[in-house]
């Protein structure tokens, strides 16, 4: 009788997909009521407002000489920053917070897999970040239409798709780092330092000084977001000489397939590692 009762109970428990949906819903509710979402939104709107003001007042040639140049400068230059901030804001402590704040104690002792919670949190973070990205894309588009008319270059559409793929990889990476730690501040700090300083520093050192293509860096792969808006697409290697001793400075540009592969590999590897870590981590 009891086993029958248990079977009944088990039948009541929704599928993992359904539980992911529940998780996403309440994570988003939590995000939209929390201060950090509005802080990120404010930063994004501030960037948009500053660009609108500066470009409108000074009319810089780099922005207004060509339509593609406008989208490359406005969108291609700044959107990666917005994406990295989204990753830090929504992914930095997504998992570590469950341990430090003890919110994990509320949901985990229920009939739900840890992977379901991980995926639900990830999708919610992606949705919230996408909303911020959409707002930035809308302001870019509004200014683009104002300066160059309603015909929007197809490369901007491609760039938006690449930006979303980069967001997927950034969140995969930040979730992985968040799974490594039980301390929210530490995981946020390390993620921020990595994306805002370390990756760029390594990229410049490796490419500029030792002339090695930094194919192993996610930020290198993200170049496709801006490069797709350049006409022609930048060469994969370019060397410039400068100074009295004619010092050579080499720069590399990821091709679109290269960039997409780097982004995909980063997402797959970090998503799997992050999931494994969260599955095994203990609430001690």
């Amino acid at each position: 009788m009891s086993s029958l009762r248990n079977i009944d109970r088990r039948d009541l428990v929704p599928s993992s997909i359904s539980q992911v949906r529940t998780n996403v819903k309440f994570e988003l509710l939590n995000y939209f009521r929390a201060r950090r979402f509005y802080v990120l939104l404010a930063i994004t709107l501030m960037i948009s407002a500053l660009l609108t003001g500066v470009v409108g007042y000074y009319r810089p040639a780099s922005y207004l000489s060509s339509q593609l140049g406008f989208y490359a400068s406005w969108w291609g230059t700044w959107v990666t920053f917005v994406i990295v901030l989204s990753g830090i804001f929504f992914g930095g402590d997504a998992i570590s917070g469950e341990f430090q704040n003890k919110t994990g104690y509320f949901l985990i002792p229920n009939p739900i897999r840890r992977s379901t919670i991980y995926v639900g949190k990830w999708i919610a973070a992606f949705a919230a970040s996408s909303l911020v990205l959409a707002i930035y894309a809308a302001t870019t588009l509004a200014n683009g239409i104002y300066y160059f008319g309603a015909i929007i270059p197809s490369q901007f559409g491609e760039s938006i798709v690449f930006a979303l793929l980069y967001l997927v990889a950034v969140l995969g990476f930040t979730f992985f780092f968040s799974s490594l730690f039980k301390n929210s501040s530490l995981s946020i700090l390390i993620t921020a330092i990595l994306f805002l300083f370390v990756f760029n520093l390594i990229q410049n050192l490796v490419a500029g000084l030792v002339q090695i293509e930094p194919w192993f860096l996610l930020t290198y792969g993200s170049q496709v977001i801006g490069n797709v808006l350049a006409d022609p697409y930048p060469p994969s290697v370019s060397t410039r000489s400068f100074g009295p001793g004619a010092t050579n400075l080499t720069s590399y540009n990821a091709s679109i397939p290269e960039g997409l592969v780097i982004i995909a590999v980063y997402f797959i590897v970090t998503a799997i590692l992050g999931l494994i870590l969260f599955e095994r981590k203990e609430f001690t």
Binding site: R10, T103, Y105, I108, E282, T284
Partner: protein
């Protein structure tokens, strides 16, 4: 009819060389009962609960709920079991109603029953006036009430409660005890840890004691206290005025069944006696007849306390 069960089979948890739990074998089964889980700090009580709820994983052994190993299929094992371990935090931006809706949806409580169940659970923990306020503004005790409501929400067969009265005010503690008592009448198997021996005596029917990660004893409360007290019971008597030493030294000890009489202070006595309820009744009527100003007469928990202290002392 097979009843609900919670079973630890050779359950161990090791952190480097330290054993938080060591080969714990314990099988609790039945319904309409509450089993107390006692032990000093660091004995392994919370570790046991955490393993049963998938918060941590055993180094060895199995944690089985209603026949399902938690490690192998947590979703199935916890389908008919709910738990409260430590004091969980709820997303601060959610209201109690939203937090419970999340649990209700996760557990698959049918949509048409959801709101009713949530309202009932919140009413049971006396939080009905706070359903739409954000949890982030709540005190620890209020959060704990919401946590208890979440454990009651799905009407589970088996409930694990790890020190459920922690953080609650005296009224809250009484409320929780009353809730546990009412759950017992409703076909539930409750496994509850507590530091409060009086709470365990009040609420539980059986007791499992643990120390250094090892099970010391698992028995009914009656057997445990009887063994420890060698058949003796105790009552505490409250008086409205100071009592004459003559009563303490001669007249009361002469009453049938009385073994010892101790003055706790000027207005409180502790009387140990042999025999059951009948002996207790007899002693009370004799004391009243002595006109010594009795204003209270309650069961002394010394038996469980003694059993606890003896067992813990022996294990160290």
């Amino acid at each position: 009819m097979t009843s609900s069960s919670i079973e630890a089979v050779n359950l161990s948890k090791r952190y480097n060389s330290f054993y938080a739990l060591s080969n714990l074998d314990l099988k609790i089964e039945g319904s309409n009962k509450c089993v107390g889980f006692l032990g000093p700090n660091g004995a392994g009580k919370t570790t046991t609960f955490k393993i049963f709820t998938g918060l941590i994983f055993p180094t060895e052994g199995e944690a089985i709920i209603n026949g399902v190993d938690v490690r192998k299929d947590k979703k199935a094992a916890l389908a008919s079991c709910s738990a409260l371990v430590e004091t969980p935090e709820i997303y601060p931006a959610l209201t109690p109603k939203e937090a419970l809706t999340m649990i209700a949806e996760t557990r698959g409580i049918p949509r048409e029953e959801r709101n009713k169940r949530i309202d009932e659970a919140l009413a049971q923990v006396k939080m009905e006036e706070w359903t739409s306020k954000k949890v982030g503004k709540f005190s620890k005790g209020m959060k704990q009430r919401v946590n208890i409501a979440s454990a009651l929400l799905s009407d589970p067969d088996t409930i694990l409660l790890d020190e459920p009265t922690v953080g609650l005010d005296p009224r809250g503690m009484t409320d929780v005890r009353d809730i546990v008592k009412s759950l017992k009448k409703n076909n539930k198997l409750i496994f509850m840890s507590s530091h409060l021996l009086s709470e365990v005596s009040d609420v539980c029917d059986e007791v499992a004691m643990i120390d250094h990660g090892k099970l010391l004893v698992y028995d009914t409360l009656a057997n445990l206290t009887a063994k420890s007290s060698r058949g003796e019971n105790a009552v505490e008597v409250g008086l409205s005025r100071q009592i004459d030493d003559g009563f303490v030294k001669t007249r009361i000890p002469e009453l049938p069944g009385v073994v010892t009489v101790d003055k706790l202070d000027e207005k409180n006595l502790k009387i140990k006696f042999t025999g059951g309820v009948a002996a207790q009744e007899e002693i009370l009527s004799e004391l009243v007849a002595m006109k010594i100003g009795i204003i209270s007469f309650k069961h002394g928990y010394s038996s469980l306390e003694e059993a606890y202290l003896n067992l813990i002392k022996d294990s160290r």
